[in-house]
């Protein structure tokens, strides 16, 4: 792929409920942070891709709510409905297609404004499944059970993900849930659906994020430090949970292979320095790490116990605190990209790790049906 870079990022504080902000207010804030970060004005932006979800927003044509705040009035604009990593992918193609040099990508949602169980239940097939009443939490609990059964991963190992990520969040001023907890705290929290406890689950939050992507020609024209996109790919598994082996993530494996191949990476477990991945639930961090080949299959839990994925470990995973510490749906994956960019630039403040090459990852659909993987590099 042609060279492209992320030259600006902006995110606001993730909160349980941003009472004072509409969708547009949140996006306005993160867009301006991204523009300032890049040393650009809105006139330097050639085109815009917004990312939103009609169900979560309670608005059909949800992109309309944030058009003004994203600066679209006199520009070409489009909207992706899905996780922010997918929106950023489309934004990237628009910077590489010859029509535009810079793309502003925004993503938002306000989990506080709706009943998340009903919204995620609406992803179930209306004819064969929806009336049974499963939602995202119970579906993922079922996946966790299958994953534990296949790999022998324990509840304690899963809980350790929560301990790590909430602990990492203590150093991240934008996170919603910085917490100093223990494995016992997690296991003692309310059991929501076997095997998941409350502290195994991410919250449903309010937040937004904006990133600016530029092609090679424009990437070094502004003051923002470019982080180069070396590879990116996405892939979707089957839809019905019963069609899939939900204890595995083959679509993630395929997306990762493709992205790494584009980046010239043959041993991601050795060549990647930091990973911001989509930990909507504790078990997911472990399952995704294995599916991506960042560690051996079935071994993520044991390696976590050894400290491999801690801030000072072999491969820091989610030094930002991840989604467990704050999860605005849709924006979640774009925030992973933004956090990875900060790390690779050396701008992560108190939670900085040594990193030249990183992975940012986002998920769409039930139980990680569809994954998008970005390979980012501080060097051109």
């Amino acid at each position: 792929m042609d060279r492209a870079a992320i030259i600006g990022v902006g995110m606001n504080r993730i909160e349980a409920s941003k009472d004072r902000d509409t969708f547009a207010d949140m996006v306005w804030e993160s867009v301006n942070l991204a523009l300032d970060d890049a040393g650009m004005t809105i006139d330097d932006i050639d085109n815009v891709v917004t990312t939103s979800n009609d169900f979560w927003d309670g608005r059909t044509i949800s992109c309309m709510a944030v058009g003004d705040a994203s600066g679209v009035r006199n520009k070409n604009v489009s909207c992706v409905e899905g996780d922010g990593t997918f929106g950023a992918f489309y934004g990237l193609t628009r910077a590489l297609s010859g029509a535009y040099g810079t793309t502003l990508v925004t993503a938002h949602s306000k989990g506080s404004e709706s009943v998340s169980s009903l919204i995620s239940n609406a992803s179930f097939d209306p004819i064969y499944e929806r009336s049974l009443g499963m939602d995202m939490v119970t579906a993922c609990a079922m996946q966790a059970m299958a994953y534990m059964h296949r790999t022998g991963t324990t509840q304690e190992q899963m809980a350790l993900v929560s301990v790590k990520n909430h602990g990492n969040a203590v150093k991240n001023p934008l996170s919603q849930l910085p917490m100093d907890i223990t494995v016992n705290d997690v296991l003692a929290s309310e059991i929501v659906s076997d095997p998941l406890h409350k502290l195994d689950c991410s919250p449903v939050s309010d937040g937004s994020c904006a990133v600016i992507i530029a092609n090679e020609e424009r990437a070094e024209k502004y003051s923002g430090t470019p982080v180069w996109v070396k590879g990116v790919s996405f892939c979707s598994d089957s839809y019905f949970l019963g069609d899939r082996d939900i204890s595995r993530a083959p679509s993630l494996t395929r997306a990762m292979e493709k992205a790494c191949s584009m980046a010239g990476i043959s041993r991601p477990d050795r060549e990647i320095d930091i990973a911001e991945i989509y930990d909507a639930f504790t078990y997911q961090e472990l399952l995704w790490l294995e599916a991506m080949g960042l560690c051996k299959d079935g071994k993520a839990g044991a390696l976590l116990e050894k400290g491999e994925f801690n801030m000072n470990g072999r491969l820091p995973v989610n030094p930002s605190g991840g989604l467990l510490a704050g999860h605005p749906v849709i924006a979640g994956g774009l925030i992973r990209i933004a956090e990875c960019v900060k790390q690779l630039r050396g701008q992560a403040g108190d939670y900085q790790v040594q990193a030249r090459r990183g992975i940012a990852h986002g998920v769409n659909g039930l139980c990680g049906q569809s994954h998008c993987v970005w390979v980012l590099d501080s060097e051109k």
Binding site: R20, D25, N121, Y128, G133, S247
Partner: protein, 157 residues
């Protein structure tokens, strides 16, 4: 945000969207539900190319794109391949917790069907459990014509 807004009381406006739906099941799904309602038989479809038997049935094979899928009866008995026990009373649940959800691979099918599991203590639930469809007394042609899948004996691993 602007300072002059700091002291303003944030207002919240409540509403519900009302968009009623009726989904066309299509012929393939209709045949499945008629079979549940009238014959208490679960019907899948088989792809002539890859021979996979899909439950719920498909009009077209998702991997081969073959459109000449053949209806195939599968057993009312099967094995649980994944499950969870819902303990918190989520808003989407139409029943009181605990509710056991399971993916059931019926004998003769290559995919699993999502449904409720009963007849087993939630704390004793396990992958590999053998279950059998229990039908509702009053059936109207929808997935709840199957009341649940009931445990029928020893686990098979």
């Amino acid at each position: 945000m602007s300072k002059h807004l700091d002291d303003i009381e944030p207002m919240i406006y409540e509403s519900r969207i009302s968009v009623p739906y009726q989904w066309w099941a299509g012929e393939t799904a209709s045949a499945f539900f008629v079979s549940l309602r009238d014959r208490k038989i679960i019907q899948g479809t088989r792809c002539p190319d890859c021979s996979r038997v899909y439950v719920p049935p498909r009009k077209t094979c998702p991997s081969c794109f073959n459109r000449s899928m053949k209806p195939v009866e599968v057993s009312n008995s099967g094995t649980v391949t994944a499950y969870t026990v819902a303990r918190r009373q989520f808003a989407s649940l139409p029943r009181k917790v605990p509710v056991i959800f399971g993916l059931v691979q019926l004998d003769g099918a290559d995919t699993s069907l999502l449904h409720y599991i009963e007849g087993v203590d939630p704390d004793e639930m396990s992958i590999g459990l053998r279950v059998e469809a229990e039908y509702a007394e009053e059936r109207t042609g929808n997935i709840r014509d199957i009341k649940c899948f009931r445990a029928i004996g020893q686990e098979r691993s």
